[in-house]
Structures are given as C-alpha cells and as structure tokens.
C-alpha cells in the first residue's frame, strides 16, 4: 500500500535522506526509528506529499504522490510531529472541517465524526477551543482528524510524544485495534512501543536505512537480547568517550 523508492533529499547542500526504499503492506504497522535528525520526519513529510524529494518516488495505494498528489492524499491520514491543528477552532468544528475536506457529507460525515470522537475519547472536550486543550487532548484531536475518513494508510509522526503513560497506552491500543485493515507507519523514540505495536521496524540513521526487520530479529542480533542495545549499536555514529581514570 505504501511504496517508497530511492528517496533522496537535501536541505541547503546537506543530504538528509540517502536512497531510502521500503514498502508497507496492508495489516502492517511499521515502526520508524532513529535518533533525532536522522530523517524520520522528512521521510514522512515526503510520503504525505508535504515535501518534494530531490529524487525517488512514493506511491500510495498505486497513486504516485508526485504525479497525482490529490488522489494519493485521499488515502492518507497524517498526524504531523507538531500535531498542529487550528487552535482557534472548536474540536467539533475542526473535525467537521477535516471530514468535509476529505469528501464526507451528510450522514456519512456525522457517522465518521461520531466514530472518531468515540475512538479517541473526545466527548468531554467537543465544544472547547483546541487552544484550551491539554497536550494529550490536542494529540488525540490530531489523531481523530487523521482517522476521520477511515484512510487505508496512516502516517503517524511520534503520536505518543508528550502523552502521559495512560494516554500512551491508549494510543498504542488504538493503533493495534485499527491495524488489521490499514498500512501504518509510526515513528517513535520509545523502543518499548516498537515491541508492543509494530510488526516490523526500520531504523534510520543519518538519512540511511541501517536496519529493516522484525523487533524480534533485531533483539536476536544482540548478546543481551534487548532492543535498546541493538538501537545503540547501529545508530552510534560517534565513538563513546573513553572512561577517565
């Protein structure tokens, strides 16, 4: 459902993505891992059509993002890293806008809105302006707008960032519940999430894919059997300082 082929991207002469290729099938939750600045968000922005790559192609459900951006974007639900939403709008009207612009009208629209309100537990804040909400609720509003049109492809950039442990648990549960019918790409810093939620993971470092496999296969490559050791081993670009005597 998601096919990413040979992506290259540089900003002001600095290469941030180098030959990134992968694909995601229906029912898969792909964990996207990497240190800060590794190129995770840039890749996601290219997949969603917000940024154009210098070279390479992305297709979503058979639609090329560069050739037919509007058609490709119809299949995507995207929660950006900042989870930016229109702060001056109330939750209900924001979701209404998100549903309308995705082509939902009439009964289908109200059913879809009710479904995501329920799914993301937004009932208590429905009539509040988004700017008055806590970070957790804002993140859930962002998630709700990404899910409102029941997209085939979900791109979630650090969806659990800034949430408290209970909310993180809820979001993970939500992703697990909807995973069967969708292709999901999900970036995170929390390795525990990868183990719990993802069927496969990609580790990206300095703009290159350095590992692609199941969380279990990663763990098998370390003597400790721990995912964080694997992550540290393959993403450590600078040598650890020597211990001072």
């Amino acid at each position: 459902m998601i096919k990413v082929e040979n992506l290259y991207k540089s900003f002001q002469g600095k290469t941030v993505l180098h030959d990134i290729s992968f694909d995601v099938q229906k029912g898969e939750v792909l964990g996207f891992l990497g240190p800060n600045g590794a190129g995770k968000s840039t890749t996601m922005r290219i997949i969603t059509g917000f940024l154009e790559p210098d070279a390479g192609q992305v297709s979503i459900c058979g639609q090329d993002v560069a050739q037919s951006p509007v058609e490709a974007k119809r299949y995507i639900g995207y929660l950006a890293e900042s989870a930016a939403t229109y702060q001056d709008m109330r939750v209900q009207s924001f979701l209404n806008f998100a549903a309308q612009i995705r082509g939902l009208i009439g009964v289908a629209k109200s059913t879809a809105i009710d479904r995501v309100i329920d799914l993301c537990h937004l009932e208590p804040v429905l009539h509040q302006p988004i700017e008055n909400l806590s970070k957790g609720f804002r993140q859930r509003v962002g998630l709700a707008q990404a899910l409102v049109h029941d997209p085939d492809v979900l791109i979630l950039d650090e969806p659990t960032d800034g949430l408290d442990p209970n909310q993180k648990y809820e979001v993970r549960g939500l992703i697990a519940r909807i995973a069967q019918s969708k292709a999901i790409v999900f970036s995170t810093h929390i390795l525990e999430e990868v183990e719990n939620v993802c069927s496969r993971a990609i580790v990206i470092n300095e703009g290159r894919i350095v590992a692609n496999g199941t969380p279990d296969s990663f763990k098998a490559q370390t003597s400790s059997g721990r995912l964080d050791d694997f992550f540290r081993n393959i993403t450590r670009s600078i040598k650890e300082p020597k211990t001072l005597n």
């Binding site: 991207k9 940024l51 154009e52 509007v70 974007k73 950006a80 930016a84 229109y86 009207s93 806008f97």
Partner: protein
C-alpha cells in the same frame, strides 16, 4: 469532489475564523470610525455642500492601505508559524485551492466591512439627491481595490512566518502602488522624467485605475488592471507555496 467545492470548504473555514475572532469586530469598528472621521471631519463633508460620497471614496485607497494588510497578514504567516501549513497541504487539495479559499474568504469579509458604511449612502440620500450610480461604481471600485491590496498581502504573508514583516512589506508595496499615481509625486517626478514616462508609470498605480470608478465610469481597462494584479499576485503566491514544499 469538485475543486470549487474544496475552495468553498476552505473559504467557509476561513470565514468562520473571522467571525469567531474579536479581530473582525475591532476591524469593522476601526474601519467605520476612521472612514467617518476622514469623511466628515477632515474631508469637510458638510462645508462642501455636495450630495456625493466623493470624499469618502477619495480616502479609501489610503485607509485600506493599512487596514487590508492588518486583516490579511496572518493568512499564511500564521499557518507557517504554527505548523498548520503541514496539515493544510497534506489534505487532498491543491495549494491553489487553499490560496483561493483563503483569498475569497478575506475578500468577502472586506466587502462586508466596506458595505458597513451604508449609513453614509442613506445620509447623502436624505440630505440631497446624489447620483447613486456613481456611488455604486465607487463601491465596486473599493471592492476591487481591497481585493488588489489583499492579493498583495496574501503574497507577502506567504513569504514569511512573521506577521509584522508581512504587514510592513505589504503596506510598503501597496503604498508604492498608490504613490506612483499620486499627483504630488507625479508632479515631483515631472522635473526629471518626460510626460509619457510619467503617464506610463502612473498607469501602474491603483489610484489612476480607482479614479474612473470614483467618477462613476466602469472602464474595462480599470477592471482588467485590478484583476491582473490580483491574478498575478495569487499566481506568485502559488509558486511560493509550491516552493515551500520543495524545502
């Protein structure tokens, strides 16, 4: 869904932002107060003893010069600063649909605000018998003028995250479009430039093209001028937004 429908949805959202924010009401009051003061006090409306809104329309290019940038400066700058541009541009719409939706919403808002001055029309009709055709043409000219300033503000706003910079840049550009047709400036330029050159430069001024509307003449050349500046600014706006996507 049709592109028009998409533009309509964006327009509706933007209009709801205006209606839901105090800025709109402050703007409306500021416009009515300033246009009233400029017309009745500084413009010596009563001493002129004319049943016309000529003096009101005379002030419009100068008043809108500040008020339109104040309304339009947030259009793209705010999206960029808050990061909502990422949300907007990943929706299944083209950048041009987003640009047109925002532009149309703000233009509708400005037209409604300008129409808020209708008590002046009633006043001159009560005091005398003005040529209402001239007044109507003046209002149409104001709508085009506001649209032209607005398109320039949209472009300036797309260029920066900072609303103050967007405001200052658009006031400067709109001021320039005024001054090149403002008689004290053209008189000054006539010391160095030949009359055909001055006329050529003044042809690019909003004042020269607004003048016809003020006198009740709907000249297609004036309409074409305003429509061209709007189309040109929005076209460049589209390029700027596309360029944002190129990183």
């Amino acid at each position: 869904m049709s592109p028009t429908k998409m533009i309509q949805i964006i327009t509706k959202r933007e209009l709801s932002v205006y209606l839901g924010s105090p800025v709109a009401y402050v703007f409306l009051i500021a416009f009515l107060l300033l246009s009233g003061i400029l017309t009745f006090t500084l413009g010596n409306f009563f001493e002129r003893n004319e049943a016309s809104l000529g003096i009101f329309f005379n002030w419009m290019p100068w008043l809108l010069l500040f008020l339109v940038p104040a309304i339009g400066m947030r259009l793209w700058s705010e999206e960029k600063r808050l990061g909502t541009i990422e949300f907007l541009l990943t929706l299944p719409i083209t950048p041009l649909q987003a640009i047109l939706g925002k532009f149309i919403a703000s233009w509708i808002f400005l037209i409604v605000v300008i129409l808020g001055s209708f008590p002046m029309v009633i006043t001159v009709n009560l005091l005398g018998s003005p040529d209402n055709g001239v007044i109507l043409a003046g209002y149409i000219g104001c709508f085009f003028l506001a649209g032209t300033y607005l398109a320039i503000v949209c472009l300036a706003s797309a260029l920066t995250k900072n609303q103050v910079i967007a405001f200052i840049v658009s006031v400067m550009v709109c001021l320039l479009l005024n001054l090149i047709g403002f008689s004290p400036i053209t008189d000054l330029l006539s010391r160095w430039l030949s009359p055909p050159m001055i006329e050529g430069i003044a042809n690019f001024s909003v004042l020269s093209h607004f003048d016809g509307f003020q006198r009740g003449i709907l000249d297609s050349r004036d309409v074409i001028y305003f429509v061209s500046v709007i189309a040109c600014s929005l076209y460049i706006n589209n390029l700027v937004i596309k360029n944002t996507r190129a990183g």
